[in-house]
Amino acid sequence: MFGSARIKDHHGEQRLFAGRIVFAGVAAAILLLLVISRLFFLQVIKHSYFADLSQGNRVRLEPLPPDRGLIYDSQGTVIAENTPAYQLELVPEQVPDVVDTLSRLADLHLIDRESVPGLTRLIKTGRRFQAVPLRLSLSENDIAMFSVRQHDFPGVEIRTRLARWYPFGGQGVHALGYVATISEDDLKRIDRDQYSGSALIGKIGLESTYEQELHGLSGYRQVLVNAQGRRVDKLGGTPVHLETRKPTAGNDIFLGIDMRLQHIAEEGLAGKRGAVVAIDPNTGNVLTFASVPTFDPNKFTRGISNADYAALRDDVDRPLFNRALRGTYPPGSTVKPMMALAGLEYGVVDPNAVRNCTGGFTLPGSSHVYHDWKRSGHGPVDMKRAIATSCDIYFYGLAEVLGIDRVHDAMSGLGFGRLSGIDVGGEKPGIMPSTAWKMATYKQQWYPGETVIVGIGQGYLTATPLQLAHAAAILAARGRNWRPRLVTSVRDATTQEIRKLPPIEEPVIQLRDTSLWDTVIEGMEMVARPGGTASSSFAGVPYRVAAKTGTAQVFSLGQNQKYNAASLAERLRDHALFIAFAPADNPKIAIAVLVENGGHGGLAAAPIARRIFDAYLLGKFENAPKPLAPPADAPIEDLDEVH
């Protein structure tokens, strides 16, 4: 039976093969006859049913877009909602000549001429039977103008749809993000069936990160249409069962952000460029997330014109740039408490040892003098005083003793050079340099002088305002590290059940002695007291504040040059920075404030933190922000959707 024992039996094989061929032929014939009988069933037995469906009147499936979930702040104030708007739509299969139709709509200024090529591509890549929104918001004039010419535009119609509305305009826009028309690129990555009726998709910020939660599930409705694609109510005599499946609305999300604090932060930065991030050190909840200048997201949800977009994009103040999340700045003296902590943990410094600050520092064997910001020097300082007066000389020396790699290890633990993992996309990690980093990046060895200036937060070291706030929160919580997050809970659209998202804790920073935290924090408290660099902003404060000011150089000075703010162009002036948390004995809020080219951190940045602390801890809300009324759009009863 097996292998080599057998020889080829040609006749046997041929017989076997012939048998198989006949069997296969008969099977093929039977299966194809099965298809023919199926066709007979469809075309003869069920013919009249299908003929009715197809002849004259037809059933068309119309997708029903879900209501997008709402976004609330921590006080339950709605900060992203849906309001009805008149929308211009085009159904590709009913339009004889898409290019001509779009061009004529542009002639009437109903759509932007520059948007025509993009819309044409979108229409070509989409499904023939699904409406494509051409313009998301029409004024009454537009509606009147189009209505009288509608007969010239078969396949184009005005529908009332829900559009996104951000009642606080630009406030918090860098956290919220915005929704806008689904683009060709979006179409490649989304489930088209789920978005068949949706005009909008989250583009950036929370609207994008939480797209899955917010969007919901599409429904559909069967409608009867005649040969021209117009909706009709009756089908000639034959009863047709029309099905409807309601869409499932998206889930609502709740933020840790308090719009009243957000308002104070943005008002404090008004007319400047900068960022404020405040975090609850006990949960990682972000309480304020401001980047100024802002822009109005409502322009995007209603279809931003090319001119408006170009103006935003080309603005020298870069309002579209998310400074809090993506702006990497030299942290300046705000790193001094972290440097002190590293020195204590590695045991290279006695906190009580006094060092005499003469205003200059030189490395052994070098003639280069590193100056203190105070040319005359601070005199004798111990660690806490060095923090309080922001003595550069003390920290030049400390950094040198530590060496860059130990500085790197300690600061990485506090989040420098790493993504914080916040729940909004596009975060930048900044740079936490080390010898290995420099070799990998520049193929060069590390020079001791570079360590010295890292000691005061200059040189290669950069961080985002978010990272600074996160580091302040870790200091406040004495090593407990909660991942920063904007969204705290989600409300299920169907059950209305609120699901609290548990805060995410990162590994705790274990110091050899917990009292080391206290030493550094006491130094930070002295910053806000008389004699400290932020004392003027915290005069008479009724709670304990731990803080650190920072003034980061944008422009490097030559040896022996003096910094003169008045003579420098505004954009070359120092960045003002400030980190703080309060109450120092039981921290409830940690903050980082950055004012680009603001000058001194204690003067330009600290007052904003003071106002936010007073509001949050003492309930001092003087002028709460007012929601804007949505533009007078369509009445809700007009909605062309099933609710």
Binding site: F2, G3, R6, I7, K8, D9, G12, E13, Q14, L16, F17, A18, R20, I21, A24, G25, A28, A29, L31, L32, L34, V35, I36, R38, L39, F40, L42, Q43, V44, K46, H47, Y49, F50, A51, L53, S54, Q55, R58, R60, L61, P63, E93, R127, R128, F129, D193, S196, S218, Y220, Q222, A227, E243
Partner: protein, 378 residues
């Protein structure tokens, strides 16, 4: 059975001039006539299905010309040469598949094409021919029915390329390549016992596979069982194509008068769903005619494979004939709603060149294996 005259290639006196040309080109007259009829029928309906798009229609004609040249060219190759070349073609195909896999991981998403600058082609198409040829080459000198060890070897020959193609991911082609190889095993006389065992094994895999399937894959299956489940997605195709066919009736609405097709209610009307256009515009008569022609092609091919001169020829021809049937059955079954929606074109009719070239190439090989008479008659 053959006379010395045919060996030398001299025409028989009683054959007409045309028939003699067909003979001299090692082609088969009846098969050629049947294929021609399918193609003419296809071009006729394609003009309507593309919405009277002459440009598309002409480009299909151009591709068809290319496919016919490939068919006639392949028919000229001596059968012995084809057999000896089988492992080489298979090997090249395998290397190309691996190249595509490597190249594909560099770019993102599905990668089936190899860009040869001049033109792009899918190595998986070569495998539709190379896998059955390789299987037949392997079995050619071995005693049949195949031993267990031979079955194992054949399964390896099939599974390696099939897995590579499935990974691209192109499940439709992987199944076609796999079935072409399995059909060789079947024709080689695989015992009924093993066939039964295989079917039982497959059936037992179903619940296990269901357990491991992703939700969206389960959704696909459920959708087939009840198209109304997903009327905007894949179910839309199924619903609209059944409306198109059903409303066509016995004689259809007339060429270029199918409202479902012409108003574009029917998606992919010129490619995978063109059979529904036939149903709507020429009715049951037209569809039955086409299926009849297909049956003719299959029957003639099976007959020719029975007459092939050696084991290799029989197995390759039989597998090609039955693969053609698989195309026809899967597409018509899917369009009429008795099979799930998978991307298999209607053979020689659907718009698109790749399948057309591969199919006609397979018929070229089939005719080569029959048209060259062996030197030693039986």
């Amino acid at each position: 059975m053959e006379s010395a005259q045919e060996i030398s290639g001299a025409p028989r006196k009683r054959l007409s001039a045309n028939a003699s040309l067909v003979r001299r080109l090692h082609l088969d007259g009846p098969l050629l006539a049947l294929l021609g009829a399918v193609i003419v029928f296809g071009l006729f309906i394609l003009y309507s299905a593309t919405g009277e798009n002459l440009g598309q229609w002409l480009s299909q004609v151009a591709r068809l010309a290319l496919a016919v040249i490939a068919m006639v060219g392949l028919a000229q190759l001596p059968p012995g040469w084809l057999r000896r070349a089988s492992p080489v073609i298979y090997g090249i195909g395998l290397v190309l598949l691996v190249l595509v896999a490597i190249h594909g991981s560099a770019t993102n998403g599905a990668q089936r094409w190899l860009d040869l600058k001049v033109f792009r082609f899918q190595p998986s198409e070569i495998m539709k021919l190379a896998v059955p040829m390789m299987c037949a080459w392997y079995l050619h000198n071995r005693p049949l029915p195949p031993s267990l060890r031979d079955i194992g070897a054949i399964l390896a020959i099939i599974l390696v390329p099939a897995a590579l193609i499935a990974k691209q991911p192109d499940l439709g082609t992987a199944l076609l390549v796999g079935s072409a190889g399995i059909l060789v095993l079947f024709l080689a006389g695989l015992s009924n016992f093993i066939i039964g065992l295989g079917i039982a094994a497959l059936a037992s895999i179903v619940p296990v596979a269901w357990h491991f399937m992703h939700d969206y894959q389960k959704q696909r299956v459920l959708m087939f069982l009840d198209p109304a489940q997903d009327p905007l997605g894949a179910g839309y195709h199924s619903i609209q194509s059944q409306i198109a066919i059903g409303s066509g009736g016995l004689f259809g609405k007339g060429w270029m008068h199918g409202s479902q097709a012409q108003l574009e209610f029917l998606p992919e009307r010129s490619t995978d769903f063109i059979f529904a256009v036939i149903g709507e515009e020429i009715g049951l008569i037209g569809q039955t005619l086409l299926i009849g022609l297909y049956l003719g092609v299959i029957a003639r091919s099976l007959f020719l494979s029975g007459a092939a001169q050696d084991t290799y020829g029989r197995l390759v021809c039989g597998s090609f004939a039955l693969t053609f049937f698989v195309y026809a059955f899967v597409n018509t079954g899917m369009v009429s709603g008795i099979l799930p929606v998978v991307g298999v074109p209607l053979p020689l009719v659907s718009y698109g060149g790749t399948a057309m070239v591969t199919l006609l190439a397979s018929f070229g090989i089939l005719m080569s294996l029959n048209g060259h008479r062996r030197l030693v008659g039986s």
